[in-house]
Structure formats: structure tokens, C-alpha cells
């Protein structure tokens, strides 16, 4: 056999082994498309095949686009492909239903916006579209971003592909479930207080919460305007780097988007990380943390050490106050952000808000009311300043902070939604968003019953590049992120 053919077969080996195109990294998919090893049409068909087979068990979507239309679009991309295309060209993706997408419903998984079709596109969405990616579905979530389990909505809970009696996490739960079970090549999520990282860790995918202002918020229905960040969700840090490249950058339509130049996120992924320091806050590994999660992260820490990384114990004494600061500011802003759904427009009245959402509106309205403002909202803002100082101090002692994402693995359906306090406390490690810091969540193991465990790396402002580098290096020596839920193998 000529050497050329052997090379080609070797190149196809992973594909033959996995039997799925979607298992490939986005870079592999992009080069495969350019080299005509396969087509966008094939990838899209694979997505729909999985959607048809397993989505009924997961409930990951609020809207799935018409299959024939999407395939038609994929063929168009196949025909028009050139070597200069963006890496995302011709790749199918999904997007959280909080993003405005012209032509398809934008419901935020709430009946308040039932059948609402927006006349405009969110900036991040149009950037991904302009890169040539193909939308296949909009994903289920906690309505308005209000939750950590994707149960608080009018579309039914998103189920975890690793155990369908459990939740996928939230609020970007639909994205995580769909990416984990290979119904798409990547997804666009949104993180306010863990909404990308929580479901990523519970469904065994990689998700990046960017620095506040790194990506445009224009056109994503807000939960907490001063915390909301638009970020990528995918199978690996490497994929996230590629997606972020297209998403990031200043937007004249978002006054809070940063003018800071966008670096090449993929360029330094291969850099060695020896000599870097990861800080582990002792408060994160004390009471309340599932021991199996603790040991998984400790194991990850050891692996980092093998890569030459120094592990340092640090302290974030204010950790426990995070939930209060986050929820007081968060509910205050959301009470105002949701005021426009007053039944004069959009066709549905306020009785369509869920109990959890009404609770948050009430809480925020209270915190902003005359006589209570100083005690709650203003105090929380002061707390926010203290948090920023505390995290800055912690990050002055290390390059990134290594922390759990959640204190427990994915909960059973109904567990969180029926216990509002527990629901909020689940955000203990992800509610540092008032600081605006970036954080990468990535898989680091499984518990005894086979549920995924995630960890997060929190970096200084605008250091996504470094976080992705660390994450990628970790994923080069581990294969947690490559594991797929048994459900899809059946």
C-alpha cells in the first residue's frame, strides 16, 4: 500500500474508532471540511440523528430548526467553502434561548415570551453566523437565567445525559446536555453566576465564563446586567479558544463591552505551563464540599504538579458572603430588567412568570425599595467592592485559582427547584461574578455512580488566554473531557 494511503487511513483512525465526526475537535473538523474529508452536510445530519434519537430523553431545546432547511444551508456552505473561511465555517451550533435570533422564537424558556419572534440579532449570534456557522437549535434553560438546574422554566427540565433522573445544571443546561451527548459541535451560552460553568461540570463538557465586557451583551436577554457574560461551551478548552476568537471584541452597541484588543486565543495553547502557580483557597475545600469532588480536584492538582505547576494554598475569607452579595444585586437588577413584561407588549401577562422568578422579582424590588436600599442593595455593592479586592489579592499570589464548580454532582430532578435556599447555595463557588473575573470550567473526573465532576480555573481580568492554555495542557494529559455519556452509545 502506498505510504500516502496509509497516512490517510491513519488520519481517519480516530473517526473510525469513534464513529462520529462530532467527536473531533473544532480544528479537526475545520481542516477536515477544507480537505473535503467530509462535509458540513454530514456533520449536520449526524447532529440531527442524535437529536432525533435522544433529545426526547433530555429535553435540551426550546426550538429545533427545520432539518431540511438546515441541511440545505449546510450544502450551501459546502459549495461556497474556501480555504480562507473562519474555522467555524459550516459547523453546526446551538445557542441559549436568551439570545435574540431573527426568524426563530426567542423565549428565554418562559411563557412570558411565548411565540416571541425578535426583529433583531444579538451581536454574538450574528458574529458566529457571519463566521459561517449553522444554527441548528435554541436551547432550554432556566427561564431568564433564574436557576442552576434548568428546571425553572415552562419547557420542562433539561435532563442530564449521564443520568436522566438528574438535572443537567443551569441555567445554560440545554447547551451542556446537547454538547455532552454530541447533538452539536459547539454551543453559545451565557454565565451570570455559574450558568455556563455549572452545567458544563455536571454534564462533562468545557465552558468558559469570560471577563465581564470581553464579549458583547447586546441582544442577549439580561438576567443581571452587571454580571452577564456571553461565553462558549464545547468539548474542550481548545474548542472554546476557537469559538471565543469569533465571539470576543468591543461592540458599539454595548457600552459595557471592553475596547481591549482581542488576543489570538489559540496561539499559546501549546505553551508549557511549568512554573505557573495555582492557588487553592482553603475555604473552598472545607465544609459542605462533596468528598468525591474534593479528591478529584486534589488529583487534578497533582497532575498539574506533574506539569511543573506550583500549587499554593490561599485564602478567600469572604467566600461565604458571596451568595448574599450576588443574590441581592442580582435580584435587584433582574426586578428592573423584567419590568418591561407588563402585559402592554409581548402579549402575555405577568402571571406567566414562574414562582422562582416571581420570588427573585420580589426580593430585588424589596432590596431597592426606599428604606431598605441602604441595608441591602448598597451594602451588597460595598460587599462587591470587598470581593473585588479580595480576589485581586488572592490572584496576586497565583496565576489562577483552582476551585470546585459545584459543592455536589448533578442533583435529582426536583431537588433544587423545590428548595429555593439550596438552589441559591449551589452557586457558592460560581457566584464570584460580581468581580467580573474570567473562569474556565472543565471536567476532572467522575464519582462512584458515574456522574461527572468539574473544576474551575479563575484568572485575572482578561486572562482567558492563560486559562485556556492551562486548561488545554491539562486536557492533553487527561481524557475526562473525551468521555461520552453511555446514553448515546446505546
Amino acid at each position: 500500500m502506498p505510504r500516502k494511503h496509509i497516512k490517510a487511513i491513519l488520519k481517519l483512525m480516530p473517526y473510525l474508532k469513534n464513529k462520529m465526526l462530532i467527536d473531533k475537535s473544532l480544528t479537526e473538523l475545520a481542516s477536515g471540511l477544507i480537505n473535503k474529508e467530509f462535509s458540513s452536510e454530514e456533520i449536520v445530519k449526524e447532529c440531527f440523528d442524535k437529536i432525533e434519537k435522544i433529545n426526547s430523553k433530555l429535553n435540551a431545546f426550546t426550538t429545533v430548526l427545520d432539518k431540511d432547511e438546515v441541511i440545505k444551508k449546510a450544502r450551501e456552505k459546502d459549495n461556497k467553502r474556501t480555504e480562507n473561511n473562519n474555522s467555524l465555517y459550516g459547523l453546526p451550533f446551538i445557542i441559549k434561548d436568551s439570545y435574540n435570533t431573527r426568524g426563530f422564537p426567542t423565549t428565554v424558556a418562559s411563557n412570558v415570551l411565548k411565540n416571541y419572534i425578535s426583529p433583531y440579532d444579538a451581536t454574538v449570534y450574528s458574529r458566529i453566523l457571519n463566521a459561517g456557522a449553522i444554527l441548528i437549535a435554541k436551547t432550554n434553560m432556566d427561564a431568564w437565567g433564574h436557576g442552576a438546574s434548568s428546571e425553572n422554566n415552562d419547557y420542562g427540565p433539561v435532563r442530564n445525559p449521564w443520568d436522566t433522573s438528574r438535572v443537567a445544571g443551569g441555567s445554560s443546561g440545554g447547551n451542556a446536555a446537547a454538547i455532552s451527548s454530541r447533538m452539536t459541535t459547539f454551543g453559545i451560552g451565557e454565565d451570570t453566576g455559574g450558568s455556563i460553568r455549572n452545567p458544563s461540570s455536571w454534564c462533562n463538557i468545557t465552558g468558559l465564563k469570560v471577563t465581564y465586557g470581553r464579549t458583547s451583551r447586546y441582544g442577549c436577554v439580561p438576567y443581571v446586567s452587571s454580571f452577564d457574560t456571553m461565553g462558549p461551551m464545547a468539548k474542550s478548552a481548545e474548542d472554546c479558544a476557537l469559538i471565543l476568537q469569533t465571539m470576543a471584541g468591543q461592540d458599539p452597541l454595548d457600552a459595557t463591552s471592553s475596547p481591549k484588543a482581542v488576543p489570538d486565543y489559540s496561539k499559546n495553547l501549546q505553551n508549557r505551563i511549568s512554573g505557573l502557580v495555582l492557588g487553592m483557597p482553603k475555604e473552598c475545600y472545607a465544609k459542605g464540599l462533596d468528598p468525591e469532588i474534593k479528591s478529584s480536584i486534589e488529583k487534578a492538582a497533582e497532575q498539574f504538579q506533574q506539569l511543573g505547576v506550583k500549587i499554593k494554598e490561599i485564602s478567600i475569607p469572604l467566600l461565604d458572603y458571596g451568595v448574599a452579595v450576588y443574590y441581592l444585586i442580582g435580584t435587584s437588577e433582574t426586578s428592573s430588567n423584567l419590568a418591561r413584561y407588563d402585559a402592554v407588549r409581548y402579549g402575555q401577562d405577568r402571571s406567566n412568570f414562574t414562582k422562582e422568578t416571581i420570588r427573585r422579582i420580589m426580593l430585588g424590588t424589596y432590596a431597592l425599595s426606599a428604606g431598605y436600599y441602604d441595608a441591602y442593595y448598597r451594602k451588597a455593592q460595598k460587599g462587591r467592592t470587598l470581593f473585588i479586592k479580595e480576589y485581586n489579592k488572592a490572584l496576586s499570589e497565583c496565576d489562577a485559582i483552582l476551585m470546585p464548580v459545584e459543592p455536589m454532582v448533578a442533583t435529582k430532578i426536583g431537588e433544587l427547584i423545590n428548595d429555593p435556599i439550596q438552589n441559591m447555595l449551589a452557586d457558592i463557588y460560581t457566584c464570584q461574578t460580581p468581580t467580573g473575573l474570567p473562569s474556565l470550567a472543565l471536567p476532572c473526573g467522575f464519582n462512584q455512580s458515574g456522574m461527572p465532576i468539574g473544576m474551575q480555573l479563575i484568572g485575572k481580568m482578561f486572562t482567558e488566554e492563560k486559562l485556556l492554555n492551562i486548561g488545554h495542557q491539562y486536557q492533553q494529559m487527561t481524557d475526562w473531557h473525551k468521555r461520552k455519556p453511555p446514553l448515546i452509545e446505546k
Binding site: 436577554v221 454595548d254 457600552a255 459595557t256 428592573s336 407588563d342 431597592l368 425599595s369
Partner: protein
């Protein structure tokens, strides 16, 4: 009775800026010129889910200019806030406004005194304030703050197919709006009117708004209470325990009437030993009364908090200096300059500077140094020169032609005058029976027949002699 009570009046004035685009989006800012409702709209000014506001730099700068023109301090840090309330014309459920850190604070505006008619006032004030350089008894009204916000949409109550409906037009939604708040230092309706006229003049000078009361691009809300003399305040902070706000006022004279009505109404209540209700009242121009709209019990809690969608604004002293330099010469300074440099009377200076365009025109004509400024001023004031049609050069030519001694001889003039007298027996008889204005008519006739070449003074003398 009036002396026993002191009216305490503060003003809140809203002014729509005439920027090209709206406050937080790129939509055209022209709600009055719009041919149809809802054509100048976009996701931002419709408050659609996910849309975000981006402040209009020009509007922000104009707000600062307004503040600077009112001698305000410009804090180096400022921010926008959300004012939360529900109303169908407010698409977001909140208005982006400014709460505790507005763009401009602590200013003042000097206005002519309102004690008496202006001429008499000048003389009396000379006696009162001999040391004052200005012959006029000016008064200074404190400006509490000047802030920037967005206008709301407009509700139209109509009947369609026999059904009463309310329609919303969002063309006005998001139009930049400046709010100016005075200290409660105004003591009479006349003073309020003087303040408003002066403010209106300055706004027009700055060129930031049409300030058209009828179109609603300038809106007034007086706050009125009355302090009885027995409880006369020892300090400024001692105000009556209530105040009444009046809305729906769309002219300066309505404002004056509404304030007068309200002062009388409140004094009547106080006389009966009661305290007027704290409330918002409207002005009914037809009935010439104010009427209750909303009482304090229904007062809103706006739950103000910093607008998270817009980063706070920080200025450097250089920024403020730059904006200060962009402010044109304001009326007071112009009046002083015209008096000093051109030896105009105060009266003439005030008239010439009433409108900036006329003052600028005057300046241009005078700059040629061909005609004495006093003559130019007289022409502009008395002949009501159409400055849009007559260029400064043309005016100079015109004045030169007309002021060069009569081109017509006295003999010729007498012939014309005789003709005019025979042709107009009635005015002649009128004059003879003591009606002075009839003489003016006859002079006018002579001027017409001589194509303006007659000297009006000579004409007058000859006419008088002939028909005495």
C-alpha cells in the same frame, strides 16, 4: 393679605435636545417632523428584550453646556440611574435618568427683578443699589441641578371603529431630555416668568433645543407652597410642610396664571387654619383653575439604582474647560459689551440681544465700521429688518443710501405733500381734530410717493405747518 404670606416657588423644567439622533440609540430624533407614528424606532428605544443603551456623546456634552451656562459646578464623576415605574409609554418599565450624581449642580441664573415694570424698576433700583455697577436690580435664582434623561413615548387616546383605544407612538421614546431644577427661591409668578424667559433665551443661545412650549420640547412644572409670615423662615431650609406641583403647563403665561391661582388657593386654605394637601395638580386653561391629579398617598417609590448598562462618566478638568470654550457669548455678556463697546442704551442692547441670530447679525453689520452702531441698532429694532433676506452688506448699502441727505429737494417735497393732503381729506380732518396718529399716516403716504427719499423729519414739519 398677600404680605402676610410668602410664596415659595421652585421650578422644574424639561427641555428636549435637538440632537440628530436619540439619547441611547441611532434613531432619528425628530418626533414632531415624523410623518407617521413609530417610524423612528429600533430595539433600543422600543425597549425590546436584550437591547442596550449607548449614550449619545453630543447630548451629554450639551447637558454639560447647559449646566455651565447656568454657572453650575460639573462634578468629575457622574452616572446614569434607572428610575423604575410602570406606565404604558415607558417601554422598559424604567426611565434612564440621573439620581444622586447629576452632570451639573449648584448653579445660578441672574434675572431682571420682577418688583415693578422694568423701566420704573431701573430708576428705583438705582436708588436702592447705588453702589451696583449694573443699573438694573438683578436677582439671582439658585439652580439645584441639571441632569440628562430620556423622554417617553406618547399615548394617543382615540376611537377606532367605535371602540375607545389608546395607541402608543414611540417616535419620542428615547429623545434626550434635560431636566433643570431650581432652588425654591422664586417668590412671585412674575419672577417665575422672568426666570423662564431668561432660561429660554439661554437655551436658544446655546442652540441645544427649539424649546418650543407648544410642541412640548420645553415643559414646565412649578412647585408652589405658601409660607405664612408668622412662621417666617429663619433659615433657607425652613420650608412649608407641603408643596404642590403643577403639571400640563405649556406657556409662560399659563405658568404665571397657574402660579397666581395656586397662591390664592393655598392662602385661602391657610386662612381657614388648614394646611394644603401635598399633591400634583394640573392646569385647566379653559376654566383657569388648577385641579388635583395625584395626592401624596399615591407617591411612587422609584427604586432608583445605578444603570448597569452604562459605565459611569468621568471628566477631566480639561474636558470641562474645552466645553466651556464652546459656549457662545451669552445674553448678559452681550448686553454689557454692546453698551460698553457700541454705546448702545441698555434698552436697545436688551432688544438686540433678545435673539442670538439678531445679535450676531448686528455684530456683523457693525464690524464693517461703515455705519454708527446706534444707527444700525435703530434700523434693526425699528424697521424690523428681515435678517434672513437682507445680508449685512445689503443692510449697510440700504442704510447708507437712506441716510445720505434727502435726494429730493424741498420744493419737490412740498409738491408731493400738497398732493397727499388733497388726496386724504379724512386723515387731515382727523389730525385737525386732535388725532395725532393721523399725522403718521400722512408722513407714511409722503414717504411712499417719494420712494422713501424724503426726510421724515422735514416732511413732518412741513405737513404740520400746512394742515395746522
Amino acid at each position: 393679605m398677600v404680605n402676610k404670606y410668602i410664596p415659595i416657588i421652585g421650578l422644574e423644567i424639561h427641555v428636549e435636545l435637538k440632537t440628530v439622533s436619540k439619547m441611547f440609540c441611532g434613531c432619528k430624533n425628530d418626533p414632531f417632523g415624523a410623518q407617521q407614528p413609530n417610524i423612528y424606532t429600533c430595539p433600543v428605544c422600543l425597549g425590546l428584550p436584550g437591547a442596550l443603551p449607548v449614550p449619545n456623546r453630543k447630548a451629554v456634552e450639551w447637558c454639560l453646556k447647559m449646566g455651565l451656562a447656568l454657572n453650575c459646578q460639573i462634578p468629575l464623576f457622574s452616572k446614569f440611574d434607572r428610575k423604575n415605574y410602570f406606565y404604558p409609554d415607558l417601554p422598559k418599565g424604567y426611565q434612564i435618568s440621573q439620581y444622586d450624581q447629576p452632570f451639573a449642580v449648584k448653579g445660578s441664573l441672574v434675572i431682571p427683578s420682577a418688583v415693578e415694570g422694568s423701566l420704573r424698576l431701573n430708576r428705583s433700583s438705582n436708588k436702592l443699589r447705588d453702589s451696583s455697577a449694573s443699573p438694573q436690580n438683578d436677582e439671582s435664582i439658585g439652580i439645584t441641578r441639571v441632569h440628562l434623561e430620556e423622554d417617553t413615548g406618547k399615548l394617543l387616546h382615540a376611537e377606532i371603529a367605535g371602540k375607545k383605544v389608546t395607541l402608543i407612538d414611540f417616535n419620542r421614546s428615547g429623545v434626550p431630555l434635560i431636566e433643570i431644577v431650581t432652588e425654591p427661591e422664586i417668590r412671585s409668578s412674575e419672577q417665575a416668568r422672568n426666570f423662564l424667559k431668561k432660561l429660554h433665551q439661554i437655551i436658544r443661545y446655546l442652540g441645544i433645543s427649539d424649546a418650543d412650549m407648544e410642541k412640548g420640547s420645553m415643559r414646565l412644572e412649578p412647585n408652589i407652597s405658601v409660607l405664612s409670615n408668622d412662621q417666617r423662615p429663619t433659615t433657607k431650609d425652613q420650608l412649608p410642610p407641603y408643596k404642590v406641583e403643577i403639571k400640563n403647563i405649556n406657556s409662560f403665561s399659563f405658568a404665571k396664571k397657574a402660579i397666581d391661582y395656586e397662591i390664592d388657593r393655598q392662602i385661602e386654605i391657610l386662612e381657614s387654619g388648614k394646611i394644603p394637601l401635598q399633591e400634583t395638580r394640573g392646569w385647566d386653561e379653559k376654566k383657569q383653575i388648577t385641579f388635583s391629579q395625584r395626592s401624596k398617598e399615591e407617591a411612587q417609590d422609584y427604586r432608583y439604582f445605578p444603570e448597569p448598562d452604562i459605565p459611569p462618566i468621568r471628566w477631566t478638568p480639561e474636558d470641562i474647560k474645552r466645553l466651556k470654550n464652546l459656549i457662545p457669548e451669552l445674553p448678559d455678556k452681550k448686553v454689557d459689551r454692546f453698551i460698553k463697546d457700541y454705546q448702545l442704551s441698555k434698552e436697545d442692547s436688551l432688544r438686540i440681544t433678545e435673539k442670538k441670530e439678531i445679535a450676531d447679525y448686528f455684530d456683523q453689520v457693525v464690524k464693517f465700521k461703515k455705519i454708527p452702531p446706534k444707527t444700525v441698532a435703530n434700523w434693526i429694532i425699528n424697521k424690523k429688518v428681515d435678517i434672513a433676506k437682507v445680508s449685512p452688506q445689503d443692510l449697510i448699502k440700504l442704510i447708507s443710501a437712506k441716510t445720505q441727505t434727502a435726494v429730493i429737494s424741498e420744493k419737490e417735497l412740498e409738491v408731493v405733500i400738497d398732493k397727499v393732503i388733497t388726496a386724504n381729506p379724512k386723515p387731515v380732518a382727523d389730525y385737525q381734530s386732535g388725532k395725532q396718529t393721523a399725522l403718521m399716516f400722512l408722513v407714511g403716504q409722503v414717504m411712499r410717493h417719494t420712494q422713501g427719499q424724503a426726510n421724515p423729519h422735514t416732511t413732518r414739519q412741513i405737513l404740520k405747518k400746512k394742515i395746522k
